[in-house]
């Protein structure tokens, strides 16, 4: 018996008609004997409508109350899907995050799952019911409702799949899997049929919108295979993300990715004593601000410059914290720079293969793209650039790495 955890995003459940179609598709596989846990997002525009409602009252609504409001969206869509199964004569029920046993920490609006107790889900599955779980939400130790922030429903699905030892976690969305680069920006890119967690992690953390990096990380740790496919596509094409890396794909650029939501903070003239980094980044972490790329240069006279990137929408908040600590540390000044972006090339073994970095920098240079920061990881090389240079950069990198990559 195959246990399949499936996740359907907001566009997949945008109307009651779409929800009915999803139920019919699942019913067909259910009748062949597979067991199902279905994780759903809120219907289409629901989340935006709820945010607008709150904005009518406050420009800066309380995060706890906001989570209570936003979590209603998934409660509704999950119940509607359960009703569709009833119409088809299939026993089914929906569960809130709390009922599904999803415990989180207390960072409202961006909570992390701390534990899943799948006892209730298992009980229902054993009776051959289809269990529909409201994605994106959980409950903390004080019984407060929390939401998981960006990529929350993907993370819910993978976490449930991992906790139950599911055979596969299927993420359904509006594209047929993961592509080498964004097909809306670069024509004729190919779909990736199989990819390792590590490579996918680089692609998704660097901005690929198909699946969120949190979900991939969780899957990697728990060795849960993920399939990414299109909800309403007739063919069953998509991308399988799993542990083993095909040997012949080592040392190749597997994908190009970008993220327009980048801002940089630079702290200049920091006295170069041990523990400076911790002092700067601990208060940011405590405030739930994610820091992405960090670059530190030690300059003359024992002072160093430290630059790091955060998401553009957390720049203001991050600046407040950074300025406070910079004053304390005796740094010279702090500057913030919005409207940046990053482009990356991703592939297993890139760092150990000579030439990729050089080819990348040269391609960007020829395209007139100025590089603001560079960072390299095991399987990716990332350049921070101006937002307006993203398309030029992507085309240049596509020419340099992917066009001749179809061997």
């Amino acid at each position: 018996m195959t246990l399949r955890v499936q996740k359907y995003g907001g566009t997949s459940v945008s109307t009651t008609n779409n929800i009915k179609k999803i139920a019919e598709k699942i019913a067909e596989d259910y009748s062949k004997g597979d067991d199902f846990v279905i994780v759903v997002s809120a219907m289409g525009e629901t989340t935006d409508e709820l945010i607008n409602l709150a904005k009518q009252i406050s420009d800066n609504p309380d995060l706890r109350e906001m989570d209570k409001i936003l979590s209603t969206g998934e409660n509704i869509s999950s119940s509607l899907l359960a009703m569709c199964f009833h119409n088809l004569g299939i026993e089914a029920l929906s569960l809130t995050g709390a009922q599904a046993g999803i415990s989180t920490d207390s960072f409202f609006s961006k909570a992390a799952i701390s534990d899943i107790d799948p006892a209730r889900i298992i009980l229902e599955i054993e009776q051959r019911k289809i269990v529909v779980v409201a994605g994106f939400q959980g409950i903390n130790d004080e019984k407060e409702l929390t939401t998981l922030g960006r990529g929350g429903s993907d993370t819910t699905a993978v976490a449930i799949a991992a906790s139950m030892g599911a055979d596969i976690c299927e993420i359904y969305t509006d594209v047929e899997g993961v592509y080498e680069a964004d097909p809306r920006l670069i024509p004729n890119v190919s779909r990736i049929d199989r990819i390792s967690y590590e490579e996918m992690l680089e692609l998704s953390s660097e901005g690929a919108q198909v699946i969120h990096s949190r979900a991939v990380e969780l899957a990697m740790v728990n060795k849960t295979p993920i399939f990414v496919g299109s909800t309403f596509s007739e063919n069953k094409l998509g991308t399988l993300i799993q542990g083993s890396i095909d040997m012949e794909n080592h040392s190749k650029v597997r994908g190009i990715t970008h993220d327009r939501n980048v801002a940089r903070i630079t702290v200049s003239g920091v006295p170069d004593v041990p523990g400076i980094a911790a002092k700067i980044f601990a208060p940011l972490a405590d405030s739930g601000i994610s820091v992405d790329i960090i670059v530190q240069n030690t300059g003359f006279e024992g002072q160093s410059d430290m630059s790091f990137t955060v998401s553009e929408d957390s720049l203001d908040n991050a600046l407040v914290h950074t300025e406070a600590i910079a004053t304390e540390l005796g740094a010279r000044n702090v500057t913030g720079d919005a409207s940046l972006a990053k482009v990356s090339i991703v592939g297993a073994g890139l760092q150990n293969s000579p030439g990729y970095a050089g080819t990348m920098f040269k391609a960007l240079d020829l395209a007139g793209v100025n590089i603001e920061m560079i960072t390299t990881a095991e399987i990716s090389i990332t350049c921070v650039i101006k937002q307006e240079s993203v398309e030029a950069a992507l085309n240049a990198l596509n020419e340099a790495f992917l066009v001749n990559n179809t061997s």
Copy 2:
């Protein structure tokens, strides 16, 4: 320090502007030192919109899923109100029914409150926070979300007030209290300033829309005073419902009420042996169908006819149960009659005062209103009539009892 529990209905919280106004009104009293628990219904049309969404999927949606969907409405409005208090610089938080400690039985869509544990509310009130509770909902022993059905938010408010020993439970609606009859149907009726639980119970169970009888019953048992007033009215007029009955108001008709949602089931030719009533009504009770008026006549040959009323929308369901048991009992036949209504006169001591019943029947007869069933209680006399006769009956009873009642 005065602890006030207030309830605001759907029209009171129909827009974010109205919600802001309510917050400002409460803030004024809060600043004088009173403590507040606020119970809210869903915003205006929200409940209808959610029902429509479900109807797009199923004409007969699963009640458990429906409760999960409907309870989202109050979660949203309660959070929005809490945000308004934050804007005013007042510490406040919203709680779901479950977070507020409201336990119910498992009759989805019409659950009864089984227990309230106000520990969390008390904890927050002690810190001078305003606590906003989502009305109309609770949680059963299996952690399933339930809704309380008609009058649910009134009941939530009274139950919380009773469990906390609140000084007063204030029910705010779109009319300035309880009137002797429906002012939309009969002109120049007077508002009742003070009324006993018993009289109010008769008024509300007989169809007065201002406050639901479940809430009044609960208040009576717990001796919780209730004030009914208008949300946005500048004056503080309204009706106080409490234990003591003013002596001078005994033996007077205090109000006239009606209910258009009445259907009758008649079981004819029932063998007249002991325990018949229990056999007929137990399965109805088990299905959560409320039976209102019951009339039994023993006829010739040891057979009796039994008639009883249910709400019109539960007629079909009640007929199914009744026909099954009637067959088992060897009754002759079962008939159902929709489109009935009832009108009642209400006043303490009516039954022991001669003449009221006769005056009522005569007034209806003169107005051409046919009486289908009669039932009398300690403080009310009720006639079941055809739905189309309601206005004629109300006018006739107003003429007969209220017009000369202003002594």
